[in-house]
Symmetry: D2
Subunit: 122 residues, 4 copies
């Protein structure tokens, strides 16, 4: 019988749901990082981002909070805008796949934006 | 006297304004192409895109129209969404720099999205 | 004792590794989708993409294969290039986190690019 | 005779060439800003970016220089990588359209990356 020494196990439903949760975070971050943002445009960008990613499979809800005070501080006042980066926002998502519910967050930790699994409900 | 055989002329104000207009179009297109979109999220994406690019220097106004019927047709009905591309939208912008007004549009021409200068008012 | 009715379980090491694998896929796809590509630039884009994503945490290896024949077919011959999308490439990645090895692939399935977990070795 | 009070002049060949030059800069910047980068991947990213944008119409040559020392300084040493932004690179391009040659550069000026027309040769 041929064997594949490198093969691991088939993924569980919970692992699949966590994989999907990661896809949504990577998508949101790399689609929108670099977008010009100012305090005048934070609300429309939050909503545009959240509704865009909610289109993806298994993505039940996305909440994006861009902090106006952080945007204000990051702005070069001659230009009047800055570029969106992880340090300016918090994101939370709820992913549901095959009865598994995964909750995730991105927030600042020790000065860096950290994407993390909050919990998994199988 | 040192000479530079490759040097052209210094750009005029109108040429600078046209350069700025091009920057806004390239920015808008490559920042947002690939964004997940469905008929449920076209309005928030249009607004998020327009307000983001209006932050850029010399960009007086941006109008983005994502055509719901084209989005609907482009959707794989199992997934329920598609990715934003030039064929799904029209964009018009008004750029003002040093008293030069440049109007630009992106729209379909012969089956392809074409970015073009409409006119230049010096 | 206060309780949180919505809380699921803390994620396992294997679930964390699958979440990380998903982040890499979403990142790669949404960072590079829309990039202009022609048969003359497939090799440099494959390498630029793979080395960029290999910088991310827990990402041991990334292989990107852009199919020249599909790029060639997708090109409008007047323009000479097209935009990168999932249907033009296969991607495989190996993610290692806390002794868990996750293998993932993106490839065409029923006419659509599908990102999937291949297996998980805890 | 119908008149359009808002109409300016039709663009000149030189203005069209400057518009095209701007498109290339906006495209390059917003396609690749946010890409993970480390000193180990600067060369492949430079080449991937340059060859991608050279596919665009009228774009004769693109040179991207990502400064290894700036990347090194920008890195959080626990992560080992940073995200590409304008402050880490210089870019120069040569655009040719209808016998007009436009040279452009992006480089740091007063602490900010500035995209500019160098000269225009009609």
């Amino acid at each position: 019988m041929p064997t594949d020494a490198h093969a691991g196990d088939a993924p569980t439903d919970a692992q699949e749901a966590c994989f999907e949760a990661g896809i949504k975070f990577g998508s949101l971050y790399h689609q929108f990082a670099g977008t010009p943002v100012s305090p005048a445009s934070t609300r429309s960008l939050e909503r545009g981002m959240a509704e865009a990613i909610e289109n993806q499979p298994y993505c039940e809800s996305v909440t994006v909070t861009i902090h106006d005070d952080r945007v204000h501080e990051a702005i070069d006042h001659e230009n009047g805008y800055t570029e969106l980066t992880g340090s300016l926002m918090d994101v939370s998502m709820r992913i549901v796949r095959d009865d598994v519910v995964v909750r995730t967050r991105m927030e600042m930790a020790d000065g860096y934006p950290l994407m993390r699994l909050v919990d998994v409900e199988a």
